[in-house]
Every structure is written in structure tokens, then in C-alpha cells.
């Protein structure tokens, strides 16, 4: 909200307080000043200049040569404007000035061979209007050398204040003045209203009927007759323009002015267009249409509150007036509406129509029903004055049930209990009083506080405490050095994920974070997704049922920028429906699932081409190794069983890792048709797991194993055997021997060659023998080794390679 400091000073004396201090204090106490616009600062180095002489430029027909007095000296200026003449007072930009239109600095330049020291400005160049037909000619009586900002009365400071939704009372200049009055402990001066006497009486000229007193608790109106619609006077236009409003005419401008003065939205009807000279406040008919001031047709529903005349709707209450009763240049008689509408009713309508106006913005936050009469009078007074009209005396005041001021109890000791420090009683009471509240002592501890209706946010004791502490100043909260700490066991629900991240980053993975929102078809491809009721756009309409599309999208984008070797992981939530049910029917958490997953993916080279190695592509064994190391570091490897699966929709070569209870993780290669959806042509391997299920596996904490004190003996055995036999089968059969001396078997080479025979391969194993309590003899090992070799040769039809 824009507040003009000049305007504000009409209601409170702030001349002795520097602007900085006003800005700082009001911000600290809860009305945050987001921007301060010093209007005059744009016109540094601009002065009123006097054109002493004008002659033709010797080298250019369209340019003239002027001698300008800038208050200090005469300077030579080349000017291209057709209307410059000797004797004029003009807006002069001295060397060093920054021209607002285009933001360029005036230097001394040569124009067609003649030096020029400054510029005579047009309104457009000054950023005052779009007029660029010639230079701006100023009032003859101005003194040369006077700062231009002063000459043009551009000395205002505009504050842009963010008003929190609870502070309806601060949405006007007087509202801000009231706040400053509490902060600086000084008086607010309300403008005086002097209405000329009139024989006409408002009550004789119109009638008001409220059919819905809940939607409209109070409706005040006043009539002004015989008006002349014209431009507003300069003072009013300057005020409106200073806060960014466009002046329209002397009636509309007054209603806008009062809205920003006191916060009461007003509406002016053309009285002669109101059939039956009657106002009826009622709910709209379902399906009723209505054309608002902006010439748009609005469809209404039965809960919308309407202002009607004897036959037709004439305004959407509190939101916008209608075209049919608009004030035009022909309007002669005016009815001023100053009403109080139910905040929630206005909000519903405004939101449903997507139509937010200065009026609806204030009504939905809660206006002051008690200011309506004052605002109507103030408007009638100003309109009558500016339109040469006659304000009818009195007002029509439909107020079926008077709204009462709230009374809130305040226990003084409670302030210290909540804040932890004392605020002097006298100061606390003064703060409440300056804010317009009435404080009455019951005893030294208990107080009764009467809250005016313009503060709907103050309802409870805690609200009073807040008012006191924020105005007293958050900068006065003492810096205490000790806090009390409750000693309890600390719980960290995110701890296991921290561990997972450390393990994966240790293995070279980078963590990514992708959007949880996906486009419809992709989301449906990967699960049963939930759709958003109000998506921002169609490519972000569904919640992800899997982390895979986000990952593949990320891989695809990286490949496009030539980053093809990737090791990435994401930890995040996935969402899916448990039953087939439209989103609108969901009414319980059990109908959908939200699971936390971890997805790691690798693609491209395991290593790049380097001087010491050649690039190698990753394969399924990389991701398997990653999974095994991951489980091992999380101390759950021994609790998991590997199971091969073939029927997955998205991945080939699937290995599932199962705990005693559930399948918790899987690895595999992503299918080509899935990769194609993301334009990926290289293999991608994934490792995916469910974090909750993983956390449920009990850790197997391995006890320390004594270090071997006797030497171990290593023997190699390479078997030539059939392609079909897996390495695991060989290991299994070696183990069948049940050797007491053999402790470790490792496959260390796979070799294929025609020399081995058709469909044959060679698997070479390293066998590790030892005894924990003595040194083995050569003979013992030899014997054990050959027993193993013989057994394997026989069982798997294998041959030991020479």
C-alpha cells in the first residue's frame, strides 16, 4: 500500500521526525516499509532556468542557441525544441543531472560544432507526462535557480508498506497516522466536516431496505443534488497521483480519496438511474448475470450479496459497481453509499469472481462500521464543494442491529509471564489508549479494555499483549543469556537419511532435487498418481508416483549439454492412490500413499578417458556393487536376500533385495522404451529403495573378529566349464566340501576363447586357507586343494586349466 508522507502530515505532525526514523519505527512495530521513494531525489541538479537570449544555431536550421541563467551563472545551451523563447522560465537540467526518461547523464557536449552545457527539458524527459512536443514552460514568477522539485512541488516521499492481513485498520492514511500516534505518542487530527445547511433531506430523496442484515449490517447513504461533473482540482489530483491512482472526475476522485484517507470504501450512484430511488440489499439470484463497471459480464450465485434498486441489481456489494448506475459526465444527482459488509461474504464473492478491488480488499479484512456516517458526510461535503452541488441534510442510516464494542480482560502479570520482562504499567496503558482503545482498571492487576470496531483483530488478552509489546518496541526485548533446557533423549527422524547420503556421496554420487509435480501422461505411465485440483499449469498437474521420471528427465537434460557420465541420487516423497477413486472423493489418508524413496542412477562412463586409463561404460555390476556396499555400510547386508525378477515394467535384469518382511530395494537396467520417452540413448542403471522399509530392518552389528595370528595360504584354481554354469554354482559346490581350512573364495577372472572349446568358459578362483590356531603345512593344503578340484571337476563336468 502506498502512503504519501505529505498527505499523512494532514493528520499528524511529523515535521520534527526524520523520514528514516519514521520508516524504521513503523517497520519494527509491524507495518513493514518495503520501499521508500524520495520523489525529489530524481531531480537533483535540475533547477528553474531563465532563457536570457535565444539565437539561431550557425550550423543547423532546427537548433537554437540559448543563454540560460541557472541562478548562479550564464551557460550556453543548444536546444532543439520549437517553442523555446527568450524570457521563458524553463526546467533546466545542469551538467551531471540524470534524465528520468531514459536514465542518462547530462554532460557537456558539442552539437554541430557548438558546445552545450545542460539541457532544457520536456515533460516527457522529466518523467512527468508523455508530452514531448516541446519544452516545459514554467510559471513566470518562479525564481531562477530554485530546485525544480520545489518549483513543481515534487517533494513528497512515498512509502510502500506491506500490511499484514490482520491489520485492516491500517489500510489508509489516517490508519497509519493512528499507528504513528501510538509510536511517537502524539495526537491524530481528524479533518473537520462543514456541511452547508440544506432544505433537502436525504431521507426524502431515497430509501434503503436491507434484506440480509448478516451480509450487510449497516448501510448509510447521503444524497448530493445538482452536481456538475468535471475534472478535480489540482490538490486532489496531486494526492491521488502521488499514490499511483489515475484521477477520473470530481465525484469518483472524492470516493477514492476518502477510501485512502480513512479506509472506508464508498460508491457513488447516479441517483436518477436508480429505479424507484431505492436501494435494496439482497442475495443474488442463482445464475443472475450482471455487468460491472469494467464492462464485463459476471455470473452470480445465490451467496453473492447485491445492491439493487427497485427492479435491477446495481452493484456487487463491496466488490464493484455496475455499468447501469455509473456516474457519467451527464450525472446530476448522486447517492453516496457508505456501508459495512460482512468480510467473509465479500471475500467469497471476490475470490469466486477473481475480482479484487481496493474496496473488496478492505471489506474482506474488516472495515469499521462506526466510520460509515463520518465517511458519508465527508464525501458529501467534498463532492458538494467540488461539483457546486447541494448536499441534502442528514443521512439514511440502515443499521438494524448495532454492533457492539468488544470488552477484553487484561491481567497485567500475564504480560511479564509471556514476554519474560517487565513493561512499565503506565507505558503499556498509554500505548493501548493511543491506539484508540479504552482502558479501565478493575484493580491493580485486572483491567477492562474496550476495543473499537476498527480493530477486529483484537479479541483476546494475548492480542492486547501483542499490541503493547510491538509498539513498546521489539528492540527493547532484553538479551537474556540463559535459557532453561529440558533434558530428554533427542530423537532424529532424519538421521538414517543423513547416513544414506553420506554413503552415496562417498561413492561419488551427487544429490539432486527434482520437481514433485509432473505432467499427466508421464505421471500415469509410472503409477496411479493424484491430480491437483488447481494446478499452476498442465505440465505440473500431478504428484509424482515415482522418482524415476524426474531422474530420467534430469539425465536427459544433462546428456543434452554433453554431461554423459552421471552418478546421481534423489531422496524424496512419492504419492499414489491405493484405490481407484476420483480426487474429489478422497476423505481419508488411507486412500492414498505417501512413501519416501531413494533412487540412485548411473549412466555413461565409469571413468573418463585419461592418460592412465581408457573410458569404460558402467554395467549392471556397477550398480550391484553400489547396492552391496550401501547395504554393508548401513549394516543390513546380511539381513537381505537377493531375488531375481523378470516381470518389471520399467527395468530389465532386476534384482530385488528382500528383508524377512518385505521387498525393500531393487536394482536393474532401465528398459529401452522407457529411456526413449526421455530421449536417452545410453544405458541407465538404477538402484531404488523404500526408506521406511529399510529403516525397519534391524541392524546386524557384527562383533569384532580376532585378527588371524597364523599365515594364510592362497591357491588359485581355474576351471574350464560350460557357459551355462554360473559363478555362484561353482562357489556353492566348492562350499559343499565343507572344508575346515577353506575360509574365503573369490572369483578373479573370467576367460573365453575358442581354444577352450565351443560353449566353454574359464572361471578362475582364489581359495584362501588357514587355521586360526596353528600354521598350516604344505601337505595339508595340497590335500585339501586337490579334494576340492576333484569334486568340482566331477560335479560340474569341469576341467582344471593347466
Amino acid at each position: 500500500m502506498k502512503i504519501s508522507l505529505n498527505w499523512l502530515k494532514d493528520y499528524i505532525n511529523l515535521n520534527d521526525i526524520p523520514t528514516d526514523e519514521i520508516v524504521n519505527k513503523i517497520t519494527i512495530s509491524g507495518l513493514e516499509v518495503e520501499e521508500v521513494d524520495y520523489k525529489a531525489s530524481k531531480y537533483e541538479n535540475f533547477v528553474v532556468g531563465f532563457v536570457k537570449e535565444k539565437s539561431k544555431h550557425p550550423n543547423a536550421d532546427k537548433l537554437s542557441l540559448c543563454k540560460i541563467f541557472d541562478g548562479v551563472q550564464d551557460v550556453q545551451v543548444v536546444c532543439g525544441a520549437p517553442n523555446v523563447e527568450a524570457g521563458q522560465k524553463i526546467a533546466f537540467a545542469k551538467v551531471g543531472a540524470v534524465i528520468p526518461d531514459g536514465n542518462f547523464i547530462i554532460g557537456s557536449v558539442k552539437l554541430r560544432g557548438i558546445e552545450s552545457f545542460g539541457m532544457i527539458c520536456s515533460e516527457k524527459e522529466l518523467g512527468l507526462s508523455e508530452d514531448h512536443s516541446g519544452i516545459m514552460v514554467l510559471d513566470q514568477n518562479l525564481e531562477a535557480g530554485m530546485p525544480l522539485a520545489d518549483a513543481l512541488h515534487i517533494n513528497d516521499v512515498i512509502l510502500d508498506i506491506a500490511i499484514t492481513p490482520n491489520r485492516a485498520d491500517a489500510l489508509s492514511h489516517i490508519g497509519i497516522a493512528r499507528e504513528l500516534s501510538a509510536i511517537f505518542n502524539r495526537k491524530v487530527n481528524y479533518p473537520e466536516i462543514e456541511l452547508k445547511r440544506s432544505k433537502l433531506r436525504s431521507v426524502d430523496l431515497a430509501k434503503v431496505e436491507i434484506q440480509d442484515p448478516i451480509g450487510c449490517p449497516r448501510y448509510v447513504c447521503k444524497v448530493v443534488k445538482n452536481v456538475t461533473i468535471k475534472e478535480s482540482p489540482e490538490w486532489l489530483k496531486i494526492k491521488l497521483k502521488s499514490i499511483g491512482l489515475r484521477p477520473i472526475n470530481n465525484v469518483v476522485d472524492v470516493t477514492n480519496f476518502i477510501l485512502h484517507e480513512i479506509g472506508q470504501p464508498l460508491h457513488a450512484f447516479d441517483l436518477d438511474k436508480l429505479e424507484g430511488k431505492k436501494i435494496l440489499v439482497r442475495r443474488a439470484l442463482d445464475g443472475e448475470t450482471f455487468v460491472t463497471l469494467d464492462s464485463k459480464e459476471r455470473k452470480l450465485v445465490g451467496t453473492d450479496l447485491m445492491i439493487c434498486d427497485a427492479n435491477n441489481s446495481v452493484a456487487i456489494a463491496g466488490v464493484m459497481g455496475g455499468e447501469n448506475s455509473e456516474v457519467t459526465s451527464d450525472t446530476k444527482n448522486i447517492l453516496i453509499e457508505s456501508a459495512y459488509f460482512n468480510p467473509s461474504s465479500v471475500r467469497k464473492t471476490s475470490r469466486r469472481l477473481g475480482l479484487s478491488t481496493d474496496a473488496s480488499y478492505r471489506f474482506e479484512r474488516g472495515c469499521d462500521p462506526e466510520i460509515t456516517v463520518w465517511a458519508a458526510k465527508r464525501a458529501a461535503h467534498l463532492i458538494a464543494e467540488l461539483t457546486d452541488g447541494e448536499a441534502a441534510s442528514g443521512e439514511i442510516d440502515a443499521y438494524p442491529q448495532k454492533l457492539k464494542m468488544k470488552i477484553v480482560k487484561l491481567r497485567f502479570s500475564r504480560i511479564e509471564r509471556i514476554l519474560g520482562y517487565k513493561i512499565p504499567k503506565r507505558e503499556a496503558i498509554k500505548i493501548l489508549e493511543n491506539l484508540g482503545l479504552e482502558v479501565e482498571a478493575i484493580d491493580s492487576e485486572n483491567y477492562k479494555v474496550k476495543v473499537p470496531l476498527f480493530r477486529p483483530d483484537i479479541e483476546r488478552e494475548i492480542d492486547l499483549i501483542e499490541e503493547i509489546v510491538r509498539v513498546y518496541g521489539y528492540d527493547k526485548v532484553p538479551d537474556i543469556k540463559n535459557i532453561s533446557v529440558v533434558l530428554e533423549a533427542r530423537i532424529d527422524e532424519s538421521g538414517s537419511k543423513d547416513k544414506m547420503r553420506s554413503v552415496l556421496t562417498g561413492m561419488g554420487f551427487y544429490e539432486i532435487l527434482t520437481n514433485s509435480l509432473l505432467e499427466n501422461t508421464i505421471a500415469n505411465k509410472f503409477g496411479k498418481p493424484l491430480a491437483m485440483m488447481n494446478p499452476q499449469s498442465s505440465d505440473m498437474s500431478h504428484l509424482r508416483p515415482s522418482l524415476l521420471p524426474g531422474m530420467l528427465n534430469c539425465i536427459s537434460r544433462n546428456i543434452k549439454v554433453q554431461e554423459k557420465d552421471l552418478q546421481l541420487f534423489e531422496i524424496g516423497k512419492v504419492f499414489f492412490k491405493n484405490i481407484d477413486i476420483p480426487e474429489s472423493n478422497i476423505d481419508s489418508f488411507s486412500q492414498f500413499s505417501e512413501e519416501e524413496h531413494l533412487l540412485a542412477a548411473i549412466t555413461g562412463g565409469r571413468s573418463e578417458d585419461e592418460w592412465y586409463s581408457k573410458k569404460e561404460e558402467v554395467d549392471i555390476y556397477d550398480v550391484k556393487g553400489i547396492a552391496e556396499e550401501f547395504f554393508s555400510k548401513l549394516k543390513i547386508l546380511n539381513s537381505l536376500k537377493e531375488v531375481n525378477l523378470d516381470n518389471d515394467l520399467f527395468i530389465d535384469n532386476v534384482i530385488c533385495y528382500q528383508s524377512a518382511e518385505a521387498s525393500v530395494a531393487r536394482i536393474g537396467r532401465i528398459k529401452k522404451d522407457i529411456l526413449k520417452l526421455f530421449d536417452i540413448e545410453q544405458n541407465v542403471f538404477l538402484f531404488e529403495l523404500n526408506i521406511k522399509l529399510l529403516n525397519e530392518i534391524s541392524l546386524n552389528i557384527q562383533e569384532f573378529k580376532e585378527l588371524l595370528r597364523f599365515p594364510k595360504v592362497i591357491r588359485d584354481a581355474a576351471f574350464v566349464l560350460d557357459e551355462k554354469i554360473s559363478s555362484n554354482e561353482v562357489i556353492k559346490s566348492i562350499k559343499e566340501i565343507n572344508s575346515n581350512l577353506l575360509h574365503h573364495i573369490k572369483l578373479f577372472d573370467i576367460f573365453r576363447s575358442e581354444s577352450l572349446g565351443q560353449g566353454k568358459k574359464s572361471l578362475a578362483f582364489q581359495l584362501e586357507f588357514y587355521n586360526e590356531s596353528r600354521t598350516l603345512t604344505e601337505d595339508e593344503v595340497e590335500k585339501e586343494f586337490w579334494q576340492i578340484v576333484k569334486f568340482v571337476e566331477k560335479k560340474l563336468d569341469a576341467k582344471l586349466r593347466g
Binding site: I28, S29, G30, T164, P165, S344, R347, R365, R417, I418, L419, G420, Y421, R460, I462, D463, I465, E466, R470, Y474, V477, D479, I480, I483, S484, V485, V486, E488, R490, D492, E493, S494, R501, T505, M507, F509, Y510, E511, I512, L513, T514, N515, S516, L530, M532, M533, N534, P535, Q536, M540, L543, R557, Q567, L568, G572, K573, F575, E583, E594, W611
Partner: protein
């Protein structure tokens, strides 16, 4: 015997001084130290000495052998290092063999920092669902229906009753419903806002909120705790201010700004967190007596701090996951 030792010593020294290669050194070793070497033979002769002379020459002979051995080793070391330099032509300008570990996302790194600070202050860590009920996200937190306060948080709805949480405060509600005070916890997590994607806004972001409920919690204590946090995160001389604000779920409420001077730009206040005393209505909603207990709550956005700290101008960079970005941190 004495003469023989000194004679052999001279021979050894002369030979040694003429030895210039590892090959020649090996020859020297064989000549003096091998099984039939001259020094070894001297020891054989020593065995044949009469008993009474043995103690006299034993020591001398040992010392002599050790001296020769030392000289030999010294030369060996010298020759070996010389020969290495000649044979392995090292190009030390080659880049080293790559070892790479990855990294956590910048957002995770920053959340970890925040978590660590509050862990030191005894705060537990709790998490909760991102798809929440309207009750937990708004109603229980004292957002009246049809109130402009709801506009402060543009919301993605699944339907009238379910939505994507707009803050992690519903975790506070869940925690207070399941655990009696005292409560001292933070709630990190992902939250959603229905906003168009742009350089300064994304449809989701990360928050860390905190909650403390106990019998004697005060506003001054809230400030002291947060000041300690801010100083730890931003340095002891950080310039900060508390200013009054409004949140439906706290009262009194405050926002905290720190003074920030970006490179080549004028300084300005930057809001880093919101906080306040838990509103009595919220305590009542979760069955905690506001006369007996009071509490404070605070919350901060993580992205904003990341953008500022690393001078990133477009928030979408954080979610593009470009490897060239990821590997920088």
C-alpha cells in the same frame, strides 16, 4: 692381524671411491662381503687366533666391519636414487589420478548446517507428510476459513480437505497431538506454494521450523535462542533486527531480518525467518492448556539463504540439477 685390517681398510676405501654404478657396487659387495669375500675371510682367520688374542681383536674386527658396511650402504643409497631419476622420467605436470566423491545438494547442505546448530541446543528432529489435511495445515493452526490470512500461502489443493502442505507447521500439530510437553523440536522438510515458476519463485521449497512448548517459555527466550542461532550461522558480528509481524499461529509474532551487503550493490535488510509465541488457540486445538503452558515457534526458508550465500540469481538453477552446477559444491 692389525696390519691386515688396516691394509684391507685401505683397499676397501680405494675400491669404494672408484665405484660409480650399481653394477660396480654389486661387484664390490661380492669382493668384500660375500661368503668368500675378503672381510668374511678375515673373520675365518680370526677363528684360528690363539685364545688370549681373541678378545683384543674381536672388538676391532667388528668395528671395522660395521664401518665398511655403513660406507657401503651410504654409497648404495646415493647410487640408487641417482639411477631412479634417470630411468623413471617423471612428468610431474601430469594431472593426478582422479579420486572423486560426490556431494549433497546445496539445499541439503544448508539444512544440515541448520540441523546441527539446533541439535546443539537440544532440539529433536521430526518429519511428517507433504500431502496434508486442510485441518492440520490451516484450521488447527488458527487460520479461519474464508480469511485473507490464507492468501498469504497460495495452496495446491487435492480437494477441499486435502492439500500440499504450505509449511512444515502441520508436523508441529502432529507432534503436539502425540506428545505431551515439554516439546523441543525442529521440523525440516519440503513445502509447496502454488506459484508460477520464475527466477524468484518455484512451486516448492524447503523449510526448517522449530517448536518449543513448556511451562515457562517466554518471548525473551525465543529471541535469545534465535540470536544464538543467527550468530552461529552468519557469524558473531551479524547485524540483525526483530520486527513485529503477523502469523495466524503465533502471537506476538516477529520477523527477523539481517543486514546484507551484496557485492557491488547497496546493503539492505533481508528477511530470514518468522517466529512468535504459539497462539493460545493452537494450544487449545491440540489439547494443551495455554494458562499452564506457553511455547514459541519459528520457521525459515532454506532456498533463500542458499541463493544469497552462493550468489545464485535464479532459483530454478537449484532444481535443474545440471552436473556442471552439482559438481561445483
Amino acid at each position: 692381524m692389525e696390519d691386515r685390517i688396516s691394509e684391507l681398510g685401505m683397499l676397501f676405501n680405494t675400491d669404494l671411491s672408484q665405484t660409480g654404478s650399481l653394477k660396480a657396487l654389486e661387484e664390490l659387495r661380492i669382493k668384500f662381503f660375500s661368503r668368500n669375500g675378503l672381510i668374511t675371510l678375515l673373520f675365518e682367520d680370526f677363528k684360528n687366533l690363539p685364545k688370549e688374542e681373541k678378545p683384543k681383536y674381536g672388538q676391532v674386527l667388528n668395528r671395522f666391519k660395521n664401518e665398511c658396511q655403513e660406507k657401503f650402504d651410504l654409497l648404495k643409497g646415493k647410487l640408487e636414487s641417482e639411477s631412479e631419476e634417470v630411468t623413471d622420467k617423471l612428468d610431474l605436470s601430469l594431472n593426478g589420478r582422479k579420486r572423486s566423491i560426490g556431494s549433497k545438494h546445496l539445499i541439503t547442505q544448508t539444512m544440515d548446517e541448520i540441523k546441527t546448530i539446533f541439535a546443539g541446543l537440544g532440539f529433536s528432529v521430526y518429519e511428517g507428510p507433504e500431502l496434508e489435511s486442510d485441518y492440520n495445515n490451516f484450521e488447527a493452526l488458527n487460520f479461519p476459513e474464508d480469511h485473507p490470512a490464507r492468501d498469504m500461502q497460495d495452496t495446491f489443493f487435492i480437494n477441499k480437505g486435502f492439500l500440499m502442505r504450505t509449511h512444515t507447521s502441520p508436523v508441529q500439530i502432529r507432534l503436539m497431538q502425540s506428545k505431551k510437553p515439554p516439546i523441543r523440536a525442529i521440523m525440516p522438510g519440503k513445502v509447496y506454494r502454488n506459484e508460477a515458476l520464475s527466477y524468484k519463485s518455484y512451486c516448492l521449497f524447503h523449510q526448517v521450523e522449530g517448536l518449543l512448548v513448556d511451562e515457562h517459555v517466554t518471548f525473551a527466550e525465543l529471541k535469545a535462542t534465535l540470536v544464538s542461532f543467527i550468530k552461529t550461522l552468519y557469524g558473531n558480528d551479524v547485524v540483525y533486527r526483530f520486527r513485529a509481524s503477523f502469523f495466524p499461529f503465533t502471537e506476538p509474532s516477529a520477523e527477523v531480518d539481517i543486514w546484507w551487503e551484496p557485492k557491488d550493490k547497496p546493503g539492505r535488510w533481508m528477511e530470514i525467518l518468522g517466529c512468535g509465541m504459539v497462539d493460545p488457540n493452537v494450544l487449545i486445538n491440540v489439547g494443551v492448556d495455554p494458562e499452564k503452558y506457553s511455547g514459541y515457534a519459528f520457521g525459515m526458508g532454506v532456498e533463500r539463504q542458499v541463493l544469497r550465500k552462493y550468489n545464485i540469481s535464479d532459483i530454478r538453477t537449484l532444481f535443474d540439477n545440471d552436473k556442471r552446477f552439482l559438481t561445483q559444491f
